[in-house]
């Protein structure tokens, strides 16, 4: 197999830079695998390692600092047959740390070469995540304060199934890279090298010294037995194929006569856990069964099982533009949190409005007609109060009718849940005016 190096664009690294050695080594690995350039994508980011994509006659994507793994993941998921090789420096590894951790956890079939030369070469030799504390670099004393990152230990802890720590000067480095590319899963190579332009001008670093430093660290030579598992892309496609197609949205024909001829606005004021939003949706579905236009606008806190839960519905035979509540027909007071959140609303209610007051939920004074329903006394659980209030409205003939409500419940619920809901809306006592 011929070289994939781009004759028109030879490497431009500083004399003695280990990156140049890796460029030629990577080419040897590609040749040994007999891969054509159209089967390979080189993905790189910023810094000297970001020049790699220009030296090869392969597909290439050069992007933002530290984000190479993100493009590589998108490419590989879109084209699983492509061999995707990512180059990154210790700088890109630092700024894109979250992506390295996620890539290790994900195990998509990518090969990451971290060209680790212990500093930011292009910007003036500043310290990176791997700079030794005793090195002299372009960041003053700052590197003395931080501990260099052990990329391989982190990768292993994050679940990388294939991790190599090695010197760029290792004699079998082309073989090491080839095996990593051939591994079906995420492989990380932490390749230590010399930056003659910056780092080794102020620090004595030789190929021999790198070898000695590596020999004092725990070895990483490839397969990490405890992290072996399925490759993400294959696993994804298998699970995806088992998912069911989402049906088109349900279209509800008008079967029943609506209540009234004008715009009706309903507000449910409740507390989290009362299934206020579900009840609001059911009220809207009930409206559709009578050919009404509807909107449901919800208001809730970021908390899930605490705080107010408010749903505002409009049912109208005319098209609905503005979705805010202007003149409520019905206000349902289900919980103190919801009532408190909208307490200013009550002073504006007129005598055509019905306030449906559940059990002992206190409501501010207003001109509206108060209708009390003793939910507790009827043994209705808090989670069903909103639903039961729809049953009351249907029985009173306000906004909806029982047949609209029951049809809506059948749209939204199935089996035991439907039977239970029908039982509640049928049995709820409609209460009495106060």
């Amino acid at each position: 197999m011929d070289s994939l190096l781009n004759a028109a664009r030879p490497p431009v690294f500083c004399p003695g830079c280990s990156h140049e050695r890796i460029t030629h080594t990577l080419d040897k690995a590609f040749q040994a695998m007999a891969l054509g350039g159209e089967r390979i994508a080189m993905v790189s980011d910023i810094g000297c390692s970001g020049l790699f994509d220009t030296f090869f006659n392969t597909h290439a994507l050069h992007g933002l600092h530290g984000r190479a793994l993100t493009y590589a993941a998108g490419l590989k998921l879109a084209r699983p047959e492509l061999t995707v090789v990512v180059t990154m420096g210790d700088g890109g590894q630092g700024i894109g740390g979250a992506h390295l951790l996620a890539a290790c956890r994900r195990n998509l079939d990518l090969t990451l070469l971290v060209l680790n030369n212990f500093n930011f070469g292009m910007t003036g030799g500043q310290y990176s995540a791997t700079t030794p504390a005793d090195a002299e670099v372009g960041s003053g004393f700052l590197n003395r304060l931080e501990r260099p990152l052990d990329i391989c230990s982190v990768a292993k802890a994050a679940g990388a199934p294939y991790v190599v720590r090695c010197s760029a000067y290792r004699s079998d480095i082309a073989e090491v890279i080839r095996k990593a590319i051939e591994f079906k899963g995420f492989s990380v190579l932490d390749i230590w090298g010399i930056c003659p332009g910056r780092f080794s001008r102020r620090n004595r670093l030789t190929t021999k010294a790198i070898g000695e430093m590596l020999s004092q660290l725990p070895p990483f030579e490839g397969v990490v037995p405890e992290n072996q598992r399925r490759e993400f892309g294959n696993h994804y496609r298998e699970l995806a194929a088992a998912q069911k197609i989402v049906p088109p949205p349900q279209a509800i024909p008008a079967r029943f006569r609506p209540v009234g001829t004008g715009r009706q606005e309903v507000i449910l004021l409740g507390s989290a856990g009362q299934r206020v939003l579900t009840a609001g949706e059911i009220l809207c579905l009930a409206g559709l069964h009578a050919g009404m236009n509807v909107t449901q606008k919800n208001d809730y806190d970021i908390t899930v099982l605490r705080g107010p839960s408010i749903s505002e519905m409009i049912l109208s035979p005319q098209a609905i533009g503005y979705t805010g509540i202007t003149r409520p027909s019905v206000v349902v007071a289900l919980g103190p949190e919801g009532v408190a959140r909208r307490k200013k609303l009550f002073s504006g209610l007129d005598d055509t409005c019905l306030v449906l007051q559940a059990s002992d939920v206190a409501v501010p004074g207003s001109r509206a007609r108060i209708h009390r329903v003793d939910m507790k006394g009827q043994g209705i659980k808090g989670a069903d109060w909103a639903l039961a209030s729809l049953g009351v409205l249907a029985k009173l003939g306000r906004v909806i009718r029982p047949e609209m409500l029951e049809a809506a419940l059948a749209d939204r619920l199935r089996g035991d849940a439907l039977a239970g809901a029908l039982e509640i809306v049928r049995r709820v006592e409609p209460g009495a005016s106060a």
Binding site: L61, H62, T70, Y71, A240, A241, I252, G321, G324
Partner: protein, 373 residues
């Protein structure tokens, strides 16, 4: 007639799938999360891919990689996520990577209020990335728009090789409304133009008179280069000022020169009006209700609903404003798009009716601003 009940975010997801979107990546954020939920339910069984990234930067990065591999891609977030997307957005602009980005705006600044609506990002979407080049921003007013404009956005992203934003709002995204499914109309899908055969492929070369370079996917039989560096037609870094100017002018004018073609507006002129109410997004619905009310009161006002926010549809706005005494700009922020209207209509009286407190602007507020403004 049969009606369906749908929220805006579901409509965005369905519109995207109808337009041929087969790759989505996002990170959970209220009020955009339900787009991720719907895409996760819809794409995998169609052979597509939906991924939750480790963060927003990764999510859009996945999309850019998949787009370069030839897929139609979308991501969705809210203002805080757009902040994190910013650098990737400038990559997509400068390197002409098609992508649809849904921004479900919430009340800012910063973390702000996750569950409250606003239209506080409309300048940010255009100018919130380095380099200052134009993008396309479409603003839906209702659930139907969410579907139709999203489907349209995919075609624009392909045709112009550009990011296209959907500037939605919690108040549309998470509000359910009835709609007739027959009103949901995805235009015929448009694909990226392939290069003419018989010539060596250069990834950023345009033919004479063309503004958008043809596209070949990364990973096909022809080698393709993509780069975030300032590049020439061959996709390699360049320092030649003439080449840089040609490239950047082209990326600028492919959008700016198409402003008229990209313009989507709804104009409701009315006899006897002296005021034009100009609104977009969910506030345009209150504006329409206000216009109805004003007509009943014998003070009719014309209405212009702008759906293409960027590039600013200058000619259409000028036509609609012609001869009117006053233009009232209604928006759910403290004054953003009104700056564009002042720029587009120099010498005309421009009023501003804005609010950013988590509540909808009411029709009454707009009526008051027309009558007493």
């Amino acid at each position: 007639m049969a009606l369906s009940l749908m929220e805006g975010n579901e409509a965005i997801a369905r519109g995207a799938v109808a337009a041929g979107c087969r790759f989505f990546a996002g990170y959970p954020i209220t009020p955009a999360t339900t787009i991720l939920n719907h895409m996760l339910a819809m794409l995998p069984p169609l052979g597509g891919t939906c991924i939750q990234g480790e963060d927003e930067i990764a999510s859009i990065g996945f999309c850019l990689g998949a787009s370069m591999a030839g897929l139609k891609v979308m991501t969705a977030t809210s203002g805080p996520g757009i902040s994190l997307y910013s650098e990737q957005i400038s990559f997509a602009i400068g390197s002409e990577i098609p992508i649809v980005i849904a921004n479900i705006q919430r009340l800012g600044p910063s973390t702000g209020s996750a569950t409250r609506g606003a239209d506080g990002d409309v300048q940010f979407l255009q100018w919130g990335s380095s380099g200052g080049l134009p993008v396309i921003v479409l603003a839906p007013a209702d659930v139907k728009d969410c579907y139709n404009l999203t489907a349209h956005a995919f075609n624009l992203a392909e045709q112009y090789r550009s990011p296209v934003f959907i500037a939605s709002n919690k108040e549309i995204a998470m509000t359910r409304e009835s709609l007739d499914l027959d009103e949901l109309k995805a235009p015929d899908p448009v694909a990226r133009a392939a290069p003419p055969p018989g010539r060596p492929f250069l990834p950023f070369q345009t033919a004479e008179g063309e503004m958008v370079p043809p596209f070949l996917p990364l990973g096909g039989r022809t080698l393709v280069r993509q780069t975030s560096s300032t590049h020439g037609p061959d996709g390699y870094i360049t320092t030649d000022p003439a080449e840089i100017t040609r490239m950047l002018r082209r990326v600028q004018s492919k959008i700016d020169a198409a402003a008229d073609r990209l313009a989507i507006l709804e104009h409701h002129p009315v006899a006897g009006a002296d005021t034009l109410i100009l609104a977009y997004g969910v506030s345009s619905r209150a504006a329409a209700a206000a216009a109805e009310d004003l007509k009943r009161r014998g003070r009719p006002a014309a209405l212009l609903i702008v759906k293409t926010l960027w590039p600013v549809p200058t000619a259409a706005i000028r036509r609609a404003a012609e001869g009117l005494r006053r233009i009232l700009v209604v928006e759910m922020n403290l004054g953003q798009y009104v700056r564009e209207i002042e720029r587009v209509l120099p010498g005309q009286s421009i009023g501003f009716c804005g609010q950013m407190d988590g509540r909808l602007i009411t029709p009454e507020t707009i009526v008051e601003a027309v009558i007493h403004g």
